[in-house]
Amino acid sequence: MFSTGTTYFLILVIVYILLVWGALIPFRAGLLYNGTVYCMAIGGYVAGFLSKNFDLPFIVCVLAAILVGLILGFIPALGFARTNGIVTAISSMALIFILESVIRNLDFLGGSTGMTGIHKENHLLLWAVILLIIFGVFLYRLNNSRIGRAWEAIQTDPQMAQSLGVNTFWMTVAALTLSSVFSATAGAVYAFNMRVLYPGTFSFTFLLNIMTMLFVGGRYTQWGAIISCPLLWSISVFMPTSIQKLSNYIYAVILILILMLRPEGIVTRRMTNKVKNFFTAKLSRRRQGAKA
């Protein structure tokens, strides 16, 4: 349907959206969690390993990546749920470096030279879109559920949330674990798209890209990612080669400008509330009309 280049670009955009959502979920519960890249690497290597060695179909690899990501995301979450603020941010960042050196020393994952030989999935874009829709709808439903409200309460005031009966510890663990699921899925899609994995890819720079996209798009709603990911990713892809080298600087400038001019990001809560209220008001008016 699309040219190879466009397909490649669109899939990477979807990967980024999933990752930004993965970073958004802990943020909703008031944690600046930097473990997204860690879980992405896990997802990527699990999917890659299964595809390369056992020739399993794409969806099986994704499910396995989700499962392993869930478990390996849950274990550190038990510790992170007791921390907050800068401590969470720094200590979760450490996961990236730990995992990187672990992968470099595991020969069956390709070590420092990287993992090659991941099988080609012909309908990868279709799969990626399906996964994006499933996760998007799930996240939307979740945000407007009892759990989503509990997270938002924790973000605003943990003690208040507690005195309303929210178990802040387990809700935070749940947020971090769910974040791992999103990131691991993104990693699996990434692995099938690149078909080569290097431990160095899952680095601090990658994390910065994700965080820039989260903060530029809007860190309070899930819609921000859908705007910021294609926008920022196209800078480093479609720009002339001479500018591409500067993409990190451009990201930094955009991030600073956004934080100064529009601290909540492009899509703010007020914007989404307005849209939501417009529809709910319309609905309730229609309902009242039906009653009368």
Binding site: R146, R149, A150, E152, A153, T156, D157, Q159, M160, Q162, S163, L164, G165, V166, N167, Y220, R269, N273, N277, T280, A281
Partner: protein, 240 residues
């Protein structure tokens, strides 16, 4: 008074912040259907007591019993679930969430509660909240926020309502409106209310009994009318 059921019984309760003693051997009883005022100036230990009851703080010594069950070391969420709600100091608004979402959080732990029915009751008491239900809670006025905080606490049909500094930063007119609504609620729904208040005059005017805390100790207790006439209370809290 012996015929009415005991709701909350606190005995010999001591709470420390590190080495600092915030509550020293406090005894307190609240019976079913009562409104009990807990008076005291800043730093007397009122909020500490409220937070200890719901388990946000932990007692070093002593016992808290709720409806005959020991809740001293119980987790906060279990205490909330068993029927204690709190209107925290400074209202505890979740400012970015809508009025409706705030109310929905009021039944977070309450199973088997008819949320829609209770919502209608609340909208009857506080019609302004119905008009503002899709607005962010932070955009409400102070009085409306206090109404929302109370509504959020009662929407889950608690048995005991703890209120911390209800009258803080409210105009006297609003304080009266809110206290009257509380009395009406108590009479109709049979709530029991423990009211931690600095505004002794208003609190005693609307409550049945009162306790006076000073530097973490109970210095006086008794009937609200008696306390109002007590010379110590008059000089220390009523400015007479």
């Amino acid at each position: 008074m012996e015929q009415t059921e005991m709701m909350l019984k606190i005995s010999d309760l001591s709470v420390y912040y590190g080495p600092i003693c915030a509550l020293k051997k406090v005894d307190l009883e609240v019976r079913k259907g009562e409104i009990v005022a807990l008076l005291g100036s800043n730093g007397a230990g009122k909020s500490t007591l409220v937070n200890t009851i719901i388990g946000l703080l932990h007692a070093k010594r002593g016992k808290i019993e709720f409806m005959g069950r020991d809740i001293t070391r119980q987790k906060t969420e279990t205490t909330i679930q068993s029927g204690i709600s709190v209107v925290p100091e400074g209202r505890g608004m979740l400012a970015n969430m809508t009025v409706m979402e705030n109310l929905q959080l009021g039944v977070y732990r309450h199973k088997g509660v008819d949320f829609n029915k209770n919502l209608e009751m609340i909208f009857e008491y506080f019609p302004i909240l119905k008009e503002r239900q899709w607005q962010a809670a932070g955009t409400l006025s102070g009085g409306e926020q206090q109404m929302l905080a109370i509504s959020r606490a009662i929407v889950g049909e608690p048995k005991l309502l703890l209120m911390d500094e209800l009258s803080l930063a409210l105009s006297p007119a609003y304080v009266d409106i809110i206290f009257k609504a509380l009395i009406k609620l108590r009479n109709e729904k049979g709530f029991t209310i423990l009211l931690a208040e600095q505004n002794a005059k208003k609190a005693l005017q609307y409550s049945d009994r009162g306790y006076v805390l000073d530097l973490g100790e109970t210095v006086l207790e008794g009937d609200a009318r008696e306390l109002m006439g007590n010379p110590y209370v008059q000089t220390a809290y009523l400015g007479a």
